[in-house]
Amino acid sequence: MKLVKINEDNCVYCHLCEVACKTEHSVSKDIIKAVKKENVLSRCTVEFNYPYSASIMCRHCDDAPCIFACQNGSMHRDERGYVVVNTQTCVGCWMCIMVCPYGVIKQGKNDDWGLSIKCDLCPDRSIPACVEACPNEALTFEEL
């Protein structure tokens, strides 16, 4: 299964993966609108602790604890085999956050309900937006 490989030795802490992620997961698909109007949350998070920096996102565990913890089947494995959350049914109980061993699920909002936000490896793209945006090959899309 192809995944986003995190090459921390190449990460330059530029946040462009986050920007690309926000844009890809916005309604408008417009970078400025996505950030300024839609307030989209990024699925990946860039961490920094000099000199380390890296963008961390869902590792799509084979044995995903978040799927087990989900109280109504919102967290599931899609046809590609990736762990994704059904935004229509998620109620934001944060049980997935409680068990995610990588700490990569974020708290978002979905109308009245909370919404777990996580990497869905861009189902509409052949290469995830963050990988494409990374200027230094710190994120690569490959078999892990």
Binding site: Y52, I56, N72, Q88, C93, W94, P101, Y102, Q107
Partner: protein, 418 residues
Amino acid sequence: MKYVIIGNSVAGINAATAIRQNDTQGEILIISDEQTRPYSRPLLPNWVIGEVSFSEERMFYRRNDFFDKNNIQTLLGQTVEKVDTKQKTVILSNKENINYDKLIIASGANAIMPKNITGIDLDGVYTLTNIKGAKKLKEDLVKINSIVIVGAGLIGTKMAYDLSKIGKKVVLVELAKRVLFPALDDYAAVLIQEQLKLSGVDIILNDSVVELDGDKTVSQVTLSSGKKILCDACLLSVGVAPNVAFVDQNIKLDRGIVVDDYLKACDDCYAAGDVASIYDIVVNVRRPIPILPLAAREGYIAGLNASGHEVKFGGGFAMNSIEIGKVGFISMGLIESDTDEVLEYKKDDKYRKFIIRDNKLIGVILVNNVEKAGMFNWMIEKKFDVSWIKDTFLNNDFGWKYFDKAFRVLRLDRKLQR
């Protein structure tokens, strides 16, 4: 091969999923006394106050096509009266016998009805662990203006908050000195109590209900302190007890069904979910831990083992996630200790607490900054040596950045599987 699963909820569904992954041919039958599609039990409080309805997909545990897609038979609305593990038969209350090759008991737990409260049989006394109890409460809700909730556990607390949100007068009575006693320590509980009070909930601590009075319907609650509270209804949420009435003598019981490391109760019979007494890796005892993530995993492992695998279940530990008003918290494992190393960070409504024993993390409370909680969960589960990294736990920006590079790379490259 015929698999029979008693219980149509989290453990049962996951057991069926696991069996179907391994055995595409075998017959799978799920028996449940409930008539509904498997639904999300934690959402019942929301359903009661009308935030969500059964017409919405989010109310259900699996999508509508789940049984068809996985070729699972169901027998709904039937109560299991007896399990005969010698004959490998399940006897239903309508005296029908169902034979099985493998049995998985995932019958869950029911609300405890305390025997020492008089007047518990009156109308207007509710419980909220299944659809039956919830339905009753929902139907009567229009008539109820004030309600006493007995037991400030997860259900009690959430219900108290939800009911006061829709304008009911709520009194929350708790025997212990704080709300959410087993899940939170004093500091965190105060944060929750503040939220409850803000939304209008009266909290009475260190007290218990001894008597319910009323003419057919509850109208007054008497506490052991002698205090009397006028009300229209009383919700009992003092805990749950495993549903084990139907098992035979081959299946050993303590508080729940005793299982081995492979979740086996006896030959060809497995137990999973709230009904099973499993190993608590934090407090080192066997006991039922009635929480959803564990039920799901147990069900899945029981299903795997029933269909020919030998997967060990390493045990679990208590963990809770709840949001009351503006305060969201996650707690895991032990929450208080006088004898272990305790790390604490307190600032306004931010709270982080870690309990460490022998350089292993055994308990965590996170309030209002919970996104990395799962990493601690992993450390507890894996009995990870935290001596070299524990100093960073209290940082609000805790994350991968504090790990040793080699370890981090291995983990993020999925070379070190969870």
